[in-house]
């Protein structure tokens, strides 16, 4: 893997966005533009994934589903323990932060797809299912951790049952998850000639639109990064260490348990290492109003996301490559 393979346009645009933020440029993308591109990209991933799944063996998808659930439930607990034991972070903030790490970042996933595409590496159809599944369980675990934390603190449970129900329903009717699942289903059922008609919009121009999205995310990450002082050194370190822990789990699961190709392992690793900034933050804001949003937002958007995009993805790919060549299990 040469240096030039790191010069993926999408990642360079991310860097451009961060640079714009760094030099305090007045560059600003309209907020609605961001929402539109997210909608477009989610549908695009969904359709593409659905089409790929339609052509693959669905029995083999089950292990991916289990892996997704395991990540979604396991990683937040690991994160919670680390935050509590090593960082002495107060229980409610720890719970809120943890939930984010069980979930995924579609932006990181798409950057990884762009990265793999740039160096011509193929991958399995299943990771996209994991992407769609992983957003919700982490929210549930976040609620459980919050309840546990409140018990520790001994205070009255501020969050009533109605809210929990509301949050659980929301976790499954969440717009982006619905869009992802819905377009996966559509990609699955439509005939090839029908798909061909919409392919130019959803596939041909996808990578370009992703560049604009990542440029915007770069600015957003830069803004958050500039607040890193408020979160302290420990949390910043955690924001880099936690994706690495997730990555190790992802590499292990992707290679030994799922037995994917290098591309597939990379994507599974990226899913495990990434951290939500779409569905989980609003849920945690509602479920744990006592937690400080600037903690989990700075970590998720300002530390872990840029780390994964700029450093993580190539690293995970290299690790997947090494693993695949060294411990070839068959």
């Amino acid at each position: 893997m040469s240096l030039s393979s790191l010069l993926v346009p999408a990642i360079l645009f991310f860097a451009l966005g961060m640079f714009a933020c760094l030099i305090k440029s007045d560059l600003k993308f309209p907020p609605d533009m961001h929402k539109m591109i997210v909608i477009y990209l989610l549908i695009g991933i969904g359709l593409h994934g659905g089409k790929a799944l339609a052509g693959s063996d669905m029995g083999s998808a089950l292990p991916a589903v289990w892996a997704a659930l395991a990540f979604g439930c396991g990683l937040p607990i690991v994160a919670y323990i680390i935050l509590r034991a090593l960082g002495k972070i107060d229980p409610l903030n720890a719970a809120a932060i943890s939930a984010h790490y069980g979930s995924v970042s579609a932006g990181t996933y798409m950057t990884a797809v762009a990265f793999l595409g740039g160096i011509g590496v193929t991958y399995e159809a299943y990771p996209v299912i994991m992407l769609a599944i992983m957003e919700s369980p982490a929210i549930m675990i976040g609620l459980v951790l919050a309840g546990y934390s409140r018990k520790i603190l001994g205070g009255a449970t501020k969050a009533d049952k109605g809210m929990y129900k509301h949050l659980i329903i929301e976790a499954f009717t969440n717009g982006s998850i619905l869009l992802l699942f819905g377009s996966m289903a559509i990609g699955w059922v439509v005939s090839d000639p029908s798909y061909k008609k919409i392919e130019p919009f959803f596939e041909l121009i996808f990578m370009g639109a992703l560049c604009i999205f990542l440029c915007d995310m770069g600015m957003e990450a830069g803004k958050r990064l500039s607040e890193f002082k408020t979160v302290g050194v420990f949390l910043v370190c955690f924001g880099i260490a936690m994706p690495l822990i997730g990555a190790v789990c992802g590499l292990f699961v992707g290679h030994f348990l799922l037995g994917y190709s290098i591309g597939g392992i990379t994507l599974v690793t990226v899913l495990a290492a990434s951290c939500s900034y779409i569905a989980v933050p609003p849920a945690m804001r509602l479920a744990i109003p006592e937690a400080n949003p600037s903690f989990y937002l700075t970590l998720s958007l300002g530390v872990t996301f840029p780390f994964n995009v700029v450093v993580g993805i190539p690293m995970y790919y290299a690790a997947a490559q090494y693993l695949h060549e060294t411990y070839y299990p068959w």
Partner: protein, 109 residues
């Protein structure tokens, strides 16, 4: 004020700020109190007991709605009596002040 009193009616001005998500519930309450006029401005931000609400935040986009309604004193009382028990649930703020409504030309009344 030197303004001719025949074009001014003394009224109450009620100004409410709440989470945009609760706006529909609030409007339903207002309609129950027979309110026949109000103005709503959405996408407001603010700071209150539940922290900051920033409509421009990328991830945690939260909006307040600002509502202004002018009504006669007894109507205002009715509105306040309807709203007051729910105010804790809605959060936000509810202010009352005095104002004068300028009425249009008598001819077309």
């Amino acid at each position: 004020m030197v303004l001719r009193p025949d074009i001014l009616v003394t009224m109450k001005r009620i100004e409410i700020v709440i989470d945009e998500k609760s706006l529909d519930d609030m409007l339903r309450l207002l309609r129950d109190a027979d309110v026949r006029g109000y103005t709503v401005i959405k996408k407001a931000g603010g700071l209150g007991s539940t922290g900051e609400r920033n409509p421009d935040d990328y991830v945690l986009e939260e909006h307040n709605a600002v509502m202004v309604l002018a009504c006669e004193e007894d109507q205002a009382e009715k509105v306040i009596m309807t709203l007051q028990p729910k105010l804790k649930d809605f959060g936000g703020m509810c202010l009352i002040s005095d104002c004068q409504w300028v009425i249009g030309p008598a001819a077309s009344l």
